[in-house]
Structures are given as C-alpha cells and as structure tokens.
Symmetry: C2
Subunit: 473 residues, 2 copies
C-alpha cells in the first residue's frame, strides 16, 4: 500500500510542529529507512511528496531541507463540528455558477473544468471522429446497461493502478460521476435519512442529497489530513447515519489526500458501525505524486465502499463517461442506473476505451498533472502577493482548485457586483456546505493555461477584498 | 386540433358495432362533411385513418367500404379496474430482457428498438463524424445545463408540429426519455405517493416508480381509445393521486392514439383534481397518420402537463438525446436533471440539431412510418396465420410493436425454454404491469426489416403456443 504517504504524514507533522528549524537539513534517506523499517524508495517517495506539499526542498547532492523561502501561507482552518444533521440549503447559487458559464466571455475561475485544449487530448478527438464514422450502427443502438464491455475492461485495469480489484462485470458505466453519486445515494438512502459528509465538499453532492430528501451531517475536515475521524465517530455514535461520503484523493475543494492510517481508521469506523462509504475518486488520477495514491476502496474488505468516478476531470466532462464500482450494492445500483437515464451512450465509451487501450492516458495524465501543479504554485503566489495579509490558502495535493479563506467577518458575496462588472467567475465557499457555511471562503480554479488576464483577475479580486476590509474595519 | 381523429373515432365505433355491413359502402365524404360540419379534407383524413386501422377500405373512384377480407383479429381485451395502488413488482424480468440483448445472435422481437440501419439516417452519422472533428473543444466542455441552445431551438419548432408552444428556454434536454420521465416523477412525488398510470404501459416507467418508492394505480386502457376515464375518475376521487402518467400517441405497448374528446376529458379531470400529467410522447412522430396527432400538452392551459420525449424511437437510442417540456414544474425538474447526471453530452445534441436544421427529419420519418406500418400488417398477418385461433392482436396506430393476447390461462413464460433454445427474444406481458398482470400477453417488435428468420420465429412461437394449449386443455 501507500506506505510513503504515512511516512510523509509523520515527517510533515514534525516539520509543521517546528521540530526542524527553517533552513536546516532533514534526516537522510538512509537514516529514515532504518528508523522506519521501509525501503529507500519509500523514503524518497515520501520526500518527493513533502516537496510537492511545500514542506521540504531538495538541494542537489546534499539532501532534503526545511524550506526558508517565502513563508508558506497559513492553511485554511478546520470548521467547527456540528451538533446535528441538517437539510441542504438552497441551490440558487449553484445555479448561478452554472448559468454564468453560458456567457463565454468571462474569466472562469469558478467551475471545476479541466483544460480540454491540451494537445495530449488529440488522440481522443480522433477516436471520437473515427468511431462516429465506423462504429456507426453500434453507437446508435441501445447498449449494454452496464456499459460497453471494451471500456469496462480498461476500467478494470485502471482499478489495479488505484489498488483495488474490480472485474469488468463488477463495474457499471454511468453518465458522469454525478450519475454514479446520485445512484449510490438513492440506492442507500430514503428521504429523511442522514449521510455524513466531509465538509467542505463538492457542491453537486450537496444538491444530490437535497433532491433525494437526505439530510447532511457535515464533518469538519483538516486541510491536509481530511475528514475528522473523531467528529465522524461522534456522529456515528449518536445518529443513524446511512452512508459516509468522502473524497480521499485530491479532495474537492480542499485538495488534501488522506494519509494511509487515516484511511484505515475510516474503514474501521465504517465497519464498526456497519455503514457503507461513498468514495468519490474523480481526482484520484490527478494527484501530483506518482504513483497515484490508492483509492480508499483498496482497503475495502467486505464490499462496503461504492467507488464513484469519471473522466470529467482527467479527460473531458462533455464525454459524460463515468463509472461506479458498487461492491455489494451492485444490484440496487444497476437498477437505479437503469431508471436514472437508461444505458449510457456507447460512442464516447468506445472512443475512451480506444484512447486507453492505445496507451495515450498515462502521457496525458503526466502532462496535466505537471501543468496543474505548476499553476497551483503560480496561483498561490499571486494570491499571496495580491490578497490581504492573513489570507489562508490550501495546499492541494492534486487537481486544479485552490481554497482560499478570508477573515471570518468577510462575505465573499460582497464581491459579486465587482465580479459581474469585470466578468470574473469564482466559486463562493458557501455552496460547498450543506448549511451554507464558508461564506468567507472561495474556490479558484487553476486548470486552463494562464494568460495575463488570469493574473489580472486574481489581483483584481485581491484588491477588492483589501479595499472592503479597510473600509469596514 | 385533430378533429379528424374525433370523426374517425365516431365512424370507427359505428363500424365496429356493425352499423354498416361488411362489404357495404360507407357514407360519402361530402355527406359526412355536411353531417359533421367539417371540411372535406378532415373527412378524408378520417377515412385514411380508418383505413390504416383496418376499418375501412378505399375502392378507386368509388369511395370507402367496410372491409370484407380476412376477418380482423379480435382486439386485446381491456383489463379489470384495480381497487387500490400497489407497489411495483420485481424487475427481474426487465433485466432478463436487457441482458439477452448482449448475445447478439438472437432474433430480437423483445426490445423497443427502432431500425437504425435505414439509409435515411446517414446524414445523422455524417453529422456526428463531422461534429466530433470540428466542434471539438465545444463538445468536450461542460455544457449548458438545459442543453445545447441550437438543439432547443429545433425542439421548439418540433413542438409546433405537436401543437404546443415551448420557447427554447422552456425546454430541458435530457439523457434520453428515461431521464425525462425519471426527473418528472421525482420532481412530483415522494416515496409512498401514488401515480395513476395507464395499464398496460412502458416497463421502464414501472421501474422508475419502483425505484422512487412510488405506488402505481393501474388504470385499465382500451386498446383503441386509451386510458379509461371512468376508472381514472374513480381513482382520483378515492386516492391522493400525485400524478397521472399516459402515452397518448401510439402508446407503448398497445399502440392506441387517444381520440381528441378523450384527451379533453383527461385534461378536465386533471384540472378538476388539480393533478399534473406526465405525458410520454416518444412515439408521437411515429404515428402512421399524417399530420401527426397533437401532443396532449397542446390542450394544456395551466402548465400542468410535463411532456417527455426523445429521439430514441425516431432516430436512434444510442444518442441518448431526450427532452422535457416541464411546464410550471420547470425549476424543480431542472434541479432533478442537474443532480441526476449533470448536463447532457453536447456532441450528439449538436449532431441532431444539425440533422434537424438541414431538414432531414421529415423524410426520415416518412420512410420509417411507412416501413413500420407495412410491417405491422405483415406481422399481424403472420400472427393470425400461425397463432392459435382466438389470439387477439392490437392494431397499433403508430410505432413498431404488436400486443398479443392469448387465452387467460396461458402463461407466456411457459415458452421460455423454447425461446432460449431458438435464440428468440420477446417481451413478456407482465413487465408492462406494476402488478405483473398480462402473463398471457406478449409484445412483439416489428421494427427491423423482416427476413425469412423473422417469419420463422413468429411461426415457431405460434406453434409452440398451439402445442401447449392442446396438451394442457
Ligand atoms: C468531486 C466531484 N465529484 C463529481 C463531479 C461530477 O462529475 P461529472 O461531471 O463526471 O458528473 C465533480 C465535478 O465538478 C466533482 O468535482
Ligand atoms: C414509451 C417509452 N418511453 C420511454 C422510453 C425510454 O426512452 P429512452 O431510450 O429515450 O430513454 C421507451 C423506450 O423503450 C419507451 O418505449
């Protein structure tokens, strides 16, 4: 399993706690290998991980050091625990986010949209064109309810990279990850039921819960380690929670990747209280570190993890190709899938299967991970420079969004007139909470290749916040 | 409106009741025009309709006659009214139907699959290939949640042909009609609620109700006139029905097209009890008569009709392009659509929009309607010839399926071993009922161009039934 993540977590905590001085040399790879009884490779992976996290710096031919450069911005704070489950609040602002997309001329920092202009996607477009000419009839037919077998075979291979086993017949292709999540929730819950969900979390999930009449129990999440197991345990003890929903890898919006021992703790809790886990692994292949961390499902012993994913972040959302590995809930989920939208369109499935089979996927991922990681650093820098001092910024381990926390009294909706006027779209923090918390937060996307307009937009936002804070305080 | 349908209904009843002797001349067009105060064209349309229904025969330069040829088979009988709503029964057999599809080498008479090999679909395939090369990036993006505007414009035009008005902004594109129906049901109902549904009816709808935890109140339907308004009224009086679900045009599986006055009656009932109507118009463009009958929504005065449809029967199901005109339930339905599968894939929408915009649709429909109508007659003939005497057969007004009723004691599942052995797939009647009624019925598809194997399969089924009836009685 991903032992290096554990080691990185241990070392990272020590660094954060100040056990090593800034600028000082960190323990050698060999020393750590002996101390922790792990291979040299594992230590090196752990260090590379810490480097990505901004907690260690490599000096050629010398070793690893605690960084001295620009002080890292504070991380977002962890939310307060909740006392009870609640109904998910209104979706008006989610709709605003989706509506604004229409206009086209905006600077779109709001949506979780990958860069689909990468040349590494060309073989996929070629496959789509080819298949729509040749697959012809097959692509027009009603298709296997579970999805095109050739695609499920490829998905079964990807599962191996993510550390779990799923035969092609144990997988169901869905119309995006949204349908996978929606079928999972409806397979497990009836209206009035309670789902424990990491907070902040993907706004689409909040809306799925809302429309299913399900209550959300928001569990605070650490911006580095993920969902608080203590708060979760308390919730499980006191309430009849029907499912736990988490995004363990490159979580949206905080960007954390849960360390291994935390994952084990999560699985044990789920087993102890006999609750299924809905895992959203949509960003799993976009974690910057290599090899990619395992899915939580890799630790699943009794089929209680329903893994949901799609190619919407790694390839392109317009394909609407997702999947679910529903474990022991297979039958119920397949039924939900059938009633939800019938079989998923075959053409994009065939094209994606071909793209995967021909081996284009790893190269594409490598390229995108590099781009997203580089741009994470650049955007972090812009925010540090242009936003008021004290702004807290997440340090995502993958994906392409930054979570930004402003002083508690600040309401990001106060920016709306300025944003509208300048054609800038951001995602307001409150849509990532069932209760509409995080009004002092925002999520900025750093997916598309930056232009001078991008920096201009970030600066414009930062300056507007600064002005508002000065006039109000 | 479709006055000719009313006239056809009146005349048809008179003919069926034996008011005109077999072989005798029917009233002249001019006489009927005077008697009913309608135009000559309307009477001619009514007669053409009756001809298609097998109730009138044209003799060149002489007029219209009551047919004398092969006595028309008896129509299926109307089911008995139910006393209460019920939970929808198991879906196992629906799954069987979907599973068998996989094998490929079967004679598929079971699924409601149109003929996608028609040359009139070629421009659509060309559009798909062209758009996947050119639309490129656009087709990979997250798309407008309501659907591609160019397609909604075309849908708004099709609405005019179906007699209702819907601005592009009042329409929502869905991932097939299944998603439209599913969103409609979930927008209107909570678990435990009751939906009144014409019986027999589309099995996918039964499963949507089941998975939504909604009870079905099955309303018997006349094989020519559709849902019994008397039984419906009784249900509405006694039970808190949350929605009425009907397929007024070329209904699946019976093939009726409701006469105008019945439609008005249905709308009045819905208004009186303030209940919304979920209309499934998926076969509307495949009604053999021209011009196509209006949608029920054409009579809607207060936005209570949610019209659901798709191109799955008229073009190809693999496109997964459907739509809903949700009337006053727009907001709720859009929310359901968002949580159900996110925005629908843009590529097939763009291709269909182009196919429509370039005017290929009417020619394609004309061709398919002719094929389906011709094959309806051929298959009816085969059934009359090869099935035991007394077999009742529907006389569909559109679409591509026949409903066949055997003696009440016969269970079509007794045929299963023979069907499996011969690789023949049929749709068993019981999946078209929430309560699993109609075990003595089956639905046979007559979409694909017939081959000698098709007749062989129909004969094989008929002979097997004959043998079984002889040995058991
Ligand atoms: C965490 C997460 N899950 C699921 C989705 C929905 O994915 P899809 O577009 O494949 O339905 C998103 C998209 O924003 C997401 O960020
Ligand atoms: C009456 C009816 N409604 C809806 C559907 C589902 O259509 P779609 O494939 O567009 O989801 C079918 C398909 O069998 C049908 O017969």
């Amino acid at each position: 399993m991903s032992r290096y993540l554990d080691l990185a977590d241990t070392l990272g905590s020590r660094i954060e706690q100040g056990l090593y001085e800034a600028g000082s040399r960190l323990p050698s790879v060999r020393a750590l290998s002996t101390e922790h009884g792990v291979s040299l490779t594992t230590v090196q992976q752990a260090y590379r991980w810490l480097e990505m996290s901004g907690l260690a710096q490599a000096r050629p031919r010398s070793g690893w050091y605690v960084p001295t450069a620009r002080p890292a911005p504070g991380l977002p704070s962890m939310g307060k625990p909740n006392l009870r489950p609640i109904d998910v609040s209104d979706w008006g602002q989610v709709q605003d986010l989706l509506d604004l997309e229409r206009e086209g001329k905006t600077i779109q920092l709001g949506r979780g949209m990958p860069d689909v202009e990468s040349p590494s996607l060309r073989p996929l477009q070629a496959a789509l064109a080819r298949e729509s000419r040749h697959a012809g009839i097959a692509s027009l037919h009603y298709n296997d309810m579970q999805g095109v077998p050739a695609l499920r075979e490829q998905l079964s291979r990807l599962a191996v990279d993510a550390g779990y086993r799923a035969a092609p017949d144990a997988l169901i292709v869905t119309t995006g990850c949204q349908e996978a999540l929606s079928c999972a929730v409806r397979a497990l819950c009836a209206p009035g039921d309670i789902v424990a969900v990491a907070s902040p979390s993907y706004h689409g999930m909040m809306q799925i819960l809302k429309e299913a009449g399900v209550q959300a129990f928001e569990i605070p999440s650490d911006p580095v380690r993920g969902i608080s197991l203590e708060a979760l345990e308390l919730a499980l003890e006191r309430w009849p929670v029907k499912a736990i929903q988490v995004i363990p890898n490159a979580s949206n919006p905080l960007g954390y990747t849960m360390p291994e021992h935390r994952r084990l703790g999560l699985i044990r809790l789920a087993q102890r209280f006999d609750v299924p886990i809905i895992e959203d692994d949509i960003y799993g292949d976009l974690v910057y570190g290599w090899p990619r961390p395992h899915a939580l499902k890799a630790l699943d012993e009794d089929g209680r993890v329903l893994l949901c994913s799609s190619f919407s972040k790694t390839l392109a959302p317009g394909l609407r190709v997702g999947w679910i590995a529903p474990g022991r809930y297979f039958d119920k989920v397949l039924r939900m899938k059938y009633t939800s939208s019938g079989p998923t369109a075959p053409l994009p499935q065939i094209a994606v299967a071909e793209f995967l089979r021909k081996g284009h996927y790893p190269a594409h991922l490598r390229r995108m991970r590099r781009q997203y990681q580089r741009q994470r650093d650049v955007m972090t820098d812009w925010v540090q420079r242009h936003f008021p001092a004290g702004t807290r910024i997440s340090h995502p381990q993958g994906g392409f969004t930054l979570w930004i926390e402003l002083p508690e009294s600040f309401d990001t909706h106060a920016l709306d007139p300025m944003l509208r006027e300048n054609g800038i779209v951001i995602a307001h923090g409150n849509i990532f909470s069932a209760a509409g918390k995080y009004r002092n937060c925002m999520r900025l996307s750093h997916a598309s290749v930056f232009t001078p307009r991008t920096e201009w937009a970030v600066r414009r936002i930062g300056e507007a916040i600064g002005e508002m804070l000065r006039t109000h305080h």
